[in-house]
């Protein structure tokens, strides 16, 4: 007799297996919760993996203070709904120095408020494993990364010397101070994520759906004016346009796309006929060649 699991069944089982493996073998795991659609899928899978118990680890949000307001509202609502332990970390040094994406550029802002902030938080709590929602189809250096990705005591990734990763037998051993980044969605594609969100009816931030929003055109991107901190340059005007976002991050660095996809079904069909990759809307990947690999080596997720 034969049975067949669907493609999504297999991806789901693999992710659940990874969640449980970490819970069983690490002393202080944490989930990096970035509030985007991949994080929403991760959260959903974590709840499944440990049902009827709650996930036995806290959720950490590294808040750059420049996230869309709707993301923060959504984050807090999810924490209440699922009853998970939410930790929010902000790089207070960066705040004191007034680091922001407008004056310091995407590179410095991301480094200080995201990469450094993440390292601070990991050191502060002494986490030895951290889940992230990265997928291998996102970007070239991600395609090279292990599911259990080793970090030395200074949080750096050595892409030329990764541990072999055989079958589903994960080497979870680390010395004090070292840690592992764990990516349960490694083998998922963007299409799989959307398909799964549809199938499981997973709630996501409304920014993914087309709405009339206050938009400024800047550097060939459509930037949403989310608060008064965004100063208009000469010649810039705020227009009301029907847009949505394919990925979410800091609002000044995340480009919207014009779209009339107001619900999940239309978002997915739009995605299926897209002609550009989802990271195209991200300013931070384009600063320099190989920039994602460089950020990752420095400890970015």
């Amino acid at each position: 007799m034969l049975a067949r699991l669907t493609h999504l069944d297999r991806l789901e089982a693999e992710a659940i297996h990874i969640f449980r493996e970490v819970a069983a073998t690490f002393s202080k795991p944490v989930m990096l919760y970035s509030v985007g659609k991949d994080s929403s899928v991760l959260l959903h899978l974590a709840m499944k993996a440990f049902y009827p118990a709650k996930p036995p680890f806290p959720f950490l949000h590294v808040d750059t203070t420049w996230k869309f307001r709707e993301m923060i509202e959504f984050r807090d609502a999810m924490a209440v709904k699922h009853g998970f332990d939410l930790l929010v970390h902000i790089n207070e040094d960066g705040v004191r120095q007034g680091i922001n994406p407008f004056d310091h550029g995407s590179n410095t802002h991301t480094h200080v408020m995201k990469t450094v902030a993440l390292r601070q938080a990991l050191d502060k709590y002494g986490f030895d494993a951290a889940f992230g929602g990265a997928r291998r189809d996102e970007e070239k250096s991600r395609a090279k990364e292990r599911i259990f990705s080793f970090r030395n005591a200074s949080h750096t990734w050595d892409p030329k010397n990764q541990r072999p990763e055989m079958w589903k037998i994960y080497n979870t051993r680390v010395a004090p101070g070292e840690s592992i980044r764990v990516f349960p969605l490694s083998n998922w594609t963007e299409l799989d994520i959307w398909q799964y969100i549809l199938q499981e009816e997973i709630p996501i931030v409304p920014l993914y759906f087309a709405r009339q929003r206050s938009i400024v055109e800047r550097d060939d991107m459509l930037i949403m004016v989310d608060d008064e901190r965004m100063k208009l340059r000469d010649g810039e005007v705020i227009e009301n346009r029907l847009v949505r976002f394919r990925t979410l991050g800091c609002y000044p660095l995340t480009g919207a796309i014009e779209s009339d996809a107001e619900d999940l079904e239309s978002v997915v069909s739009e995605m299926l006929t897209a002609r550009t990759s989802e990271r195209q809307g991200r300013l931070i990947d384009k600063d320099e060649a190989g920039s994602m690999e460089k950020k990752k080596r420095e400890g970015y997720f």
Binding site: M1, L2, A3, L5, H7, D9, R10, A13, E14, I16, H17, R20, A23, A24, M47, K48, A49, F50, Y51, P52, A53, R136, D137, E139, K140, S141, A143, K144, R146, P159, K160, Q162, R163, P164, M166, W167, K168, I169, N171, R173, A175, N187, T189, L191, Q195, L198, Q199, E265, S266, V268, S269, L272, T273, A274, T276, S277, Q280, A289, G290, E293
Partner: protein, 645 residues
């Protein structure tokens, strides 16, 4: 992608129907392997390009990169699509495995693009371990190379049953049919012993796309499938629910006293509510009460599903154990034979203690015997003392506690393991179990009525092993000798195992190579354990330069019995004292493998007792030891026997 999918969507009524159709597709994982410069990355780039999976912004970046790094002149260099690391793009080689995703109307694919260089074989093995099929590339001009053979053997060992032999770069040999016939025949003959279910040779040019996704007009003599047709149609295993049920327990889920579930992934077969099961290691029988999932209990769970099982009875089960079918049980032993692929720059040392991990279990393991090394060119079995990086051999493995397993040929999930180095935590090897070794099964442990505790009580002492480690000439034997005199005169029962003395008898067949040093310590540790079991206080005076072996000795003994004494004397002082004249000879090159000179000494990181001897007399050191032992006695309630140590 857009092209293919738009057509499919037009046929489907709406998006949900389209997605439902998507879900009927099967999933295949394959890897590309072969020698350097055979065109693996180019082939994958070509597959992604031809299946329209490259977005416009990626194509623009690719054209830019091709001008900067490309090796194809003005043409697009598809390899740059997949070689993602900067070092790879600079050097034009693949270092680590990259995973890529594409789909056709028939199947979804996960591709592992693996490196061809021999030094990166472990990365190739990583990609192969989860693959259903291997695309082995061969350069039509070069034919079958050493690396082609090595990768084929590793693919076979790791359980891959299907090979697509992509004979590439046909444009460079004038699309010559004879070249194809010759290489195909040579490969089939070579691979006949490897047990592949299918081997499909395909002539192609990845650079120009011939026979990759479209039929080549240059090779009318070839009537077989294109690579993509073959990948879409080769039959891969569906889940067979009637295989023996195996459920390695990964995590015990116990949120409150009313719920105790065993979480894991079904490794093979299936299980239903009400089925009888057996706990593999204890043989205890129970029955499945519930198969728990969020959104409602399941009636059945099949291979590949991650579920939580609740049993009818309160049986003892923890992570590493296995719930199995009572009718076809796995092996449960502490000795087995296995194929082993070695990954680490430090060679395998038989006798050294490694950590063995299966999917959920863990045990201390030693390779008790290296039966032979496999020559990857001609399958010859060669005698060997170690396995170097990227070598393959057949070994006997001995564990400190039994594990539950199946032979790898029967079960790819429950028959596999990795070895981890205790000190560096590196994954140093991957193993595929061939069969259990019956030695352990037939020699049962004889249970004796007079036990260690009884023997110790009659001697009024706590069995203890004081393990003196340090450089040659550091003063180990002098201090140990003085301490033994003192303990003896206080009425204790002692024995001193001295490195030089043991090498005259028990260990006289051993030299000073790394392998022999490991075996030297293993034997002494076992002797010390027997003596501790006899109730003695054992003083071991051995250089014992490697941490791993001292750790192994520690683990042979009970908690608190092993006292590591680091006799810490600076190298220059030892060389100055040179009580046996050995340093003079070693520095003069007359003795090889001398610790501290051309063989390393790994100092203890956390010894129980650290003796810094420089400028202090052996008598002072003995006082330190004596005081430590008395303090321990005062704090120790375990052996409450009166005048013990």
């Amino acid at each position: 992608m857009q092209h293919v999918m738009t057509k499919e969507i037009a046929v489907a009524d709406d998006i949900r129907n389209y997605l439902a159709v998507q879900e009927q597709k099967s999933l295949m994982r394959f890897l590309t392997c072969g020698s350097v410069d055979d065109g693996k990355s180019t082939l994958i780039g070509r597959l992604l390009y031809d299946t329209k999976l490259i977005f416009e912004d990626q194509l623009a970046a690719l054209e830019k990169d091709s001008r900067k790094h490309g090796t194809n002149g003005a043409d697009i260099d598809f390899a740059l699509l997949v070689d993602g690391l900067e070092a790879e793009r600079e050097q034009g080689i693949t270092i680590d495995v990259a995973y890529r995703f594409f789909a056709t109307p028939k199947r979804k694919f996960i591709v592992a693009d693996t490196p061809g260089h021999e030094q990166y074989t472990r990365n190739m093995a990583t990609g192969a371990s989860t693959a259903d099929l291997a695309v082995v590339l061969v350069d039509a001009r070069q034919g079958i190379l050493r690396q082609t053979r090595r990768h084929s053997i590793i693919a076979s060992l790791l359980g891959i049953r299907h090979i697509a032999l992509a004979v590439n770069k046909f444009d460079l040999v004038g699309f010559d049919r004879n070249v194809f016939e010759r290489i195909s025949a040579e490969y089939r003959e070579f691979a006949s012993e490897l047990g592949f279910a299918t081997i499909e040779p395909i002539p192609m040019s990845a650079r120009y796309g011939d026979n990759v996704t479209r039929r080549s007009s240059e090779m009318p003599w070839y009537a077989g499938p294109t690579l993509l047709e073959h990948l879409e149609n080769v039959s891969i295993n569906a889940v067979a629910v009637d295989r023996p049920f195996r459920f390695p327990v990964q995590y015990v889920n116990r949120p409150n006293l009313d719920f105790r579930g065993f979480a894991g992934t079904v490794a093979s077969g299936s299980v239903g509510k009400g089925d009888d099961i057996v706990v593999a290691k204890s043989g205890k029988l129970s029955r499945v009460k519930r198969i728990v999932a969020q959104g409602g209990d399941l009636q059945r769970a099949v291979e590949g599903q991650a579920v939580t099982i609740v049993l009818e009875d309160e049986v003892e089960v923890s992570r590493g154990n296995m719930l199995v079918s009572p009718y076809t049980r796995p092996q449960v032993t502490d000795q087995f034979a296995a194929n082993l692929v070695w990954f680490d720059e430090s060679a395998l040392l038989p006798g050294r203690s490694y950590i063995l991990r299966t999917e959920t279990d863990q045990a201390s393991a030693t390779v008790s015997e290296l039966q032979y090394r496999i020559n990857v060119n001609d399958f010859a079995h060669e005698a060997a003392k170690t396995l170097e990086m990227n070598e393959v051999g057949v070994v006997s493995v001995s564990l400190q506690s039994p594990i539950a397993f199946d032979n790898f040929a029967e079960n790819r999930t429950t028959g596999a393991f990795i070895l981890i180095d205790r000190m560096t935590n590196a994954t140093v090897g991957a193993g595929m179990i061939l069969n259990p070794l019956r030695r352990a099964a037939n020699i049962h442990w004889q249970s004796l009525d007079v036990d260690k505790k009884a023997r110790a009580l009659s001697k009024h002492q706590k069995p203890t092993v004081l393990w003196f480690t340090g450089l040659s000439g550091s003063g180990k034997s002098t201090i140990a000798n003085l301490l033994e005199k003192k303990l003896h005169s206080a009425g204790h029962h002692t024995y001193l195992l001295d490195g030089d003395n043991i090498r005259h008898g028990l260990n006289r067949d051993l030299g000073f190579s790394d392998e022999d040093r490991v075996e030297n310590i293993r034997r002494v540790a076992e002797v010390a354990r027997l003596m501790a079991d006899a109730g003695l206080i054992v003083l071991v005076s051995f250089i014992s330069p490697f941490r791993a072996e001292r750790q192994m000795a520690r683990e042979l003994l009970e908690e608190g019995e092993f006292i590591e004494v680091f006799v810490d004397t600076p190298f220059d002082e030892c060389a100055r004292r040179d009580p046996k004249g050995l340093y003079a000879k070693a520095l003069g090159g007359e003795i090889k493998n001398f610790t501290g000179i051309d063989s390393p000494y790994e100092a203890p990181e956390k010894p129980e007792i650290h003796l810094e001897t420089f400028g202090r007399s052996p008598e002072e050191m003995v006082e330190v030891l004596d005081e430590w032992l008395h303090e321990r006695e005062n704090g120790d309630q375990q052996y409450d026997s009166g005048g013990g140590i």
